[in-house]
Symmetry: D2
Subunit: 460 residues, 4 copies
Amino acid sequence: MLEQRFSIPQDEAFRRLNDSLSFDQRLWEYDVAQSEAHARMLARQGIIPAGDSDAILAALGRVRAELSEGSFPFAAGDEDIHMAVERRVTELAPEAGGRLHTARSRNDQVVTDVAMFVRDVARSSQSRAADLASTLVGVAEAHLDWPLPGYTHLQRAQPVYLSHHLLAYAWMLLRDARRFAQVAEGVSDLPLGAGALAGVNFDTDREFVAAELGFSGVVENSIDAVSNRDSLLDYLSAASTCATHLSRLGAEIVMWSSSEFGFAQVSDAWASSSSIMPQKKNPDAAELLRGKAPRVWGHLAALQGVIHGLPLTYNKDLQEDKEHLFDAVDTLALMLVAADGMVASLSFDRARLEAAAADEMLAATDVADLLVKRGMAFRSAHGVVARLVREAVSLGCTLSELRDDRVVELSEGRLDAAALRSVLADGAWLESKVSRGGTSLASVRVQLQHVKTALAGARE
Amino acid sequence: MLEQRFSIPQDEAFRRLNDSLSFDQRLWEYDVAQSEAHARMLARQGIIPAGDSDAILAALGRVRAELSEGSFPFAAGDEDIHMAVERRVTELAPEAGGRLHTARSRNDQVVTDVAMFVRDVARSSQSRAADLASTLVGVAEAHLDWPLPGYTHLQRAQPVYLSHHLLAYAWMLLRDARRFAQVAEGVSDLPLGAGALAGVNFDTDREFVAAELGFSGVVENSIDAVSNRDSLLDYLSAASTCATHLSRLGAEIVMWSSSEFGFAQVSDAWASSSSIMPQKKNPDAAELLRGKAPRVWGHLAALQGVIHGLPLTYNKDLQEDKEHLFDAVDTLALMLVAADGMVASLSFDRARLEAAAADEMLAATDVADLLVKRGMAFRSAHGVVARLVREAVSLGCTLSELRDDRVVELSEGRLDAAALRSVLADGAWLESKVSRGGTSLASVRVQLQHVKTALAGARE
Amino acid sequence: MLEQRFSIPQDEAFRRLNDSLSFDQRLWEYDVAQSEAHARMLARQGIIPAGDSDAILAALGRVRAELSEGSFPFAAGDEDIHMAVERRVTELAPEAGGRLHTARSRNDQVVTDVAMFVRDVARSSQSRAADLASTLVGVAEAHLDWPLPGYTHLQRAQPVYLSHHLLAYAWMLLRDARRFAQVAEGVSDLPLGAGALAGVNFDTDREFVAAELGFSGVVENSIDAVSNRDSLLDYLSAASTCATHLSRLGAEIVMWSSSEFGFAQVSDAWASSSSIMPQKKNPDAAELLRGKAPRVWGHLAALQGVIHGLPLTYNKDLQEDKEHLFDAVDTLALMLVAADGMVASLSFDRARLEAAAADEMLAATDVADLLVKRGMAFRSAHGVVARLVREAVSLGCTLSELRDDRVVELSEGRLDAAALRSVLADGAWLESKVSRGGTSLASVRVQLQHVKTALAGARE
Amino acid sequence: MLEQRFSIPQDEAFRRLNDSLSFDQRLWEYDVAQSEAHARMLARQGIIPAGDSDAILAALGRVRAELSEGSFPFAAGDEDIHMAVERRVTELAPEAGGRLHTARSRNDQVVTDVAMFVRDVARSSQSRAADLASTLVGVAEAHLDWPLPGYTHLQRAQPVYLSHHLLAYAWMLLRDARRFAQVAEGVSDLPLGAGALAGVNFDTDREFVAAELGFSGVVENSIDAVSNRDSLLDYLSAASTCATHLSRLGAEIVMWSSSEFGFAQVSDAWASSSSIMPQKKNPDAAELLRGKAPRVWGHLAALQGVIHGLPLTYNKDLQEDKEHLFDAVDTLALMLVAADGMVASLSFDRARLEAAAADEMLAATDVADLLVKRGMAFRSAHGVVARLVREAVSLGCTLSELRDDRVVELSEGRLDAAALRSVLADGAWLESKVSRGGTSLASVRVQLQHVKTALAGARE
């Protein structure tokens, strides 16, 4: 604990308000690693004796062991992990330990720990997003030619293959992985060496420390170094969008699991039942993908609020950055892992999917396009089909049940009932979507090649 | 644990995602209390035998003791506090315990616990807000006639008394207390008895349970009962506005504590120092009042997001309500208690305040009003004073140092230098604000009477 | 335009950034009304001559006419509506107009306009929420005994009546109406008379102005008067919760309109079609109820952010309050009106609803409760039914198709197949929910009486 | 207007709710450009006759002229800009115009317009951020060696050069520019050709259209193409962080402009005065940089809310994306331009800055470091200086006024008064911060080289 310039002890409520050890101890590995690099640098530059550096490194080794096995002796006055580690080092190496904080401040120390943490969690989020994308690709391949109604406005629109639908999520996750990679790459410069805010009074070698800790450069402005929380905002932004993607996936699985849709079921391993309704099989994990997304962007909005209007350099408000970050990291990790496991064990009901996708109304565009191919302008063709649909709806029949003469009449002679029924015959509607990126099997197979190439790159 | 209709055990990641015991055990007191009332009602209505009710009540007494002393034996399968309590009751009273969940569902049980919790925390937030208002009134009275520059746009505008400035915060906190009272009053109807969603198959007496648990009525629609999270949104809305008020107070104390302002200092008991700058005395608690406010409204935005677009009735997403609520409750409680302690121990520097408030420019409105009292239209008077100010700024002098002839000239003969200097003489500017709610001492004394009356009502 | 103390004209980008006339002119009615009351008060108190007050009132009358008919001559220098009105009054009544701003500041003027506006829009939101509640009650009565599956986790849980389900929304809207009433009541005190921040140098009569403008009191602290934006936060909080309710309603209508559910259809007057799929009938209005809710709470989060950490008293940041408020007001008004029209013209498909509600699995709780009534503990009964369900699911049959001997065996002799099938026979499950607030017709009829009483009070 | 399958006209409230023309007409340039590319492709692929393509292109040329000069004849039924353009093209080229929508849907059309828009605004935000960074560098160079107290917790901590402080903002803006560049790069793939959701029934050449419109590839999955709003979230995320940076800059300028700090003044061209206090010079633009930031992240939170839980593919909710985006774009553009102009015209008060930076307490770290260089461990040295500070504070004197014997005594003989006073002599504290990124002039000059290199790259 610091020898303070104050004579009165801290108020207990103040101590509780100010406390960060309960959450920042999570950073201990980074704190130990940076202290090792810092001590080595101090000795190399002749700022502290080599012997002191050795003693510090030995003490830090012991601290690492204690923290990793849970035997670290926290003390009452440890207000954060940085102080706790330094205090313990000084207990173990009394004289040398007192030199560890030379040419360093808690301000640059904290942001360095957090930078290393963000880099690591961004990489692991990237990896988890890629894992889920990979699982989605696998499930897509296993259901390559299973039809499914595609929806707009939750109204059946045009049939697609289930593989095509699932691959849409794979692409989202691949973009998420790319975003996390950019977040990690954004943490390229070492803040350590900025001191409290102005730089330090010693001839340090920041590039050496940067190299030791895996940074490619150093933050060029000491004031910026200790004031900047951009990497946390970057992580939270990427995590928010990823969580929103997962919320869409979760919402669809919930919907598909309803009796009315009946398209899919989660495995029993991913379901719960009811305290009073024994028949219930609830897709809780899918619901929680949806329900946890706002938590992630709530943290982002809150952290923007924390930083908003703050004068440079460090202000205590910034201590609030960590809990927002940590909870978002943990929430997203759990979401990604759960989505992976649940998706991998989904079972689909081919009969229900096929029946739904066979709805004739889904072929309306195809009828219009047939007229276009026969030379009618698209807008006119659209109008003809709208009239056919209105007739069928008002009669309560399907398109293929329309009377032959009415088909001719409503299409102003451009369409006969045989041609209409031929288009409406199942199957052609999917396979006719031959355009690149479309749902025909040929197109989906091309897409699968592309997505696998993208997957291979998504872990870099 | 429920006997499930499932054959496969839950996936470990699913279990972690779904877990709520880690946070909902905080509701145990309410869960025990409602179970007691429910058991009594079941026996009164003849739904279970009186002997079973007695056995349940005895078991619940033991559960209460175990939970309050920390000896409650949680089991591996306890997925939430409701299941844990029921499981333990059934261990203690095997046959009777199995009847406790008759005519009840986890859905109405959870919302009842939360309703009771919200009612309690709204009352305690009300009380803490009133405490802080009371402290502010005390500090205001102790600095009744200490002048301070009033600011708009952070520019000195007109002088006010420090008491008047501090009372502005007291009024904010009184409004907060009123809001929390409305939140508590809003939790007037008992949800229990709604069953899973549709009501129950038994002739229950919900009014009896309501009276036992301190509700004045029952929720009139069973679907609404289990779907509704309004009271949490109400609490979070009130808490957000209260936190925003505290953030303004914190920001002012931070600013007043700067060397440049030098108006106030927090007590050493509410300050911290620096790891490398021994001269620092940092007003961390004031900064954290500012830095923690976004956390509270982050939770509100997140919970609106959670509920957004959810179909009726219960969805698992709603499990996310509790952590947002709990963290907001704890954060706000700590903020209010810390604000109270810190404000009570603030010390102000009368000399600095007086020097700042004596800035002649602060009297510009008073000069204009003198011209108005002499018959000039306010807009013209404003223009005259603007010319005097421009002259003084361009000469680098004060208003009272302006040359006599220039005063006459710039005022088009409506003002002579003697009258100008007389208005500028210290003191009159504050005491001339005689309007109701204004800063003259007479008005502040009237205000103090009103604020004390309001304070007395603020705990009801 | 003010005679400034500045010599350089404003930068064009600054002028655009600072401009508020484009949105605050919406407040003109309040500005004119408060100016009238202020002028009358000034004359009554002898602060300005009665003749000047008359001239000002005549000019204000002309201004009102010009603004209401769109002929008001805005001038290049009008930076806000307050300045525009005062400038025009001074054009029309040159000497007297210059006295209008006596004992008043733009700071207290703006908050007074906004207070009056919030009071009005809170009352009209209250009224629109009550209108929608009333419409929902009407639609509920028209479908009193139409069955519908009730859902938890979007899984069919227990059948309910459609009337009961729709009434859940009526109760939500009634709570919204109450919240808006509280917002309006919260705007009880007149800010005008606070001056810039410190009160004014004149012996004004704020109570007179308050009475003229419909306030029951005056803000007791002039600093608080000009710094306070609570009423806007209150409105936005109430509006956010109301919008979230509407988003749930919208989401259900979207879902019900899908082919898979097929429970309801919006009227053609509330639907759109597709640019290329002529068969589509899209429930856009329902989707927009869902999609516009985040806009409302986005404004709330943003305004909390604006006020966060601001020192007292007025800061220019607070100019940002109005656009957030206005857009939320307009968005919510459109949502409520649209919901009303769309709900009133919904058509439900009784056959589909009945078929869905007849799903035997929905009676599982009732089977368990039968066992309870025969003396089995609820937990054991729940277990028995879970086994029956597991058997039926694994055989792919319904509960009533289970073999007689298996029913006896799985129920450990407590249930015979005849009794089981009797419970499963359609209808009884709804009517057995006799508890208060439950879905039996008797209970719903009682509820309808209560909701109508509540409706009658909801406009007060 | 579409020929609808509906017989009833749209409700007026529905029409208002659904309307997007009022805001989406902003996209017209992109809509015309993509229509041109699409028409050319259709002809190249033989899907429409070359003559029709020519007629469409001629009509589109006329439409572009009409829209750019404001003479475009909007019609009552134009519900969005896409329909308006197609309707007008069809008026001008009746038969050919009806073929323009072949192999295209409004769904892929809208996202293509928005993708092009996002790409453009991301580039212009990048450019404006770089402009502001450049201005900051210029102002920094003009105040290279002006001292300023550096603050932590708003307490004076260590002196820095004003140039160094301003460069911290330049680095923030450079990171912003990089983020916007990544947003623009992220919009690399053309959505057009996805059709409504499933691809189209024609053999289109999406790569040709992509090349025409400046995309490097095509979206590989048609469902993803029409469902995806990532690029808007990416823009809003980058804009939020940039706005938060500007809010910090604004807050500091507000603070510096106060009488108490007196460090800087905005130009009269960037200031406003008061309606009743003629002496006021208010830094409104700086306040609005602070007050407008929450508006930007409010839009981000709202858009995450809109997309949250939406099933694939297009839902009407997504129409809400545009107003959030557009207002954020306009707000940020105005903020960046205003910040640039205001910063460029700031004037600093060297005398006040120097006086503040000469505060002896700012040298406390340097005294400690002197002891370190004499061999004392840093922690011990920190303790010695804390004792010296406590002594000075309790005596109300400066460090250099401490009695010689007390200096020796409190430092346990490691420090004499002469050495102490020598360190305290002005100037050395800044120049001793020789570390890379520190505030010594030598380090700042190196930093200036780096920032200029970065600036040169920031527009790519």
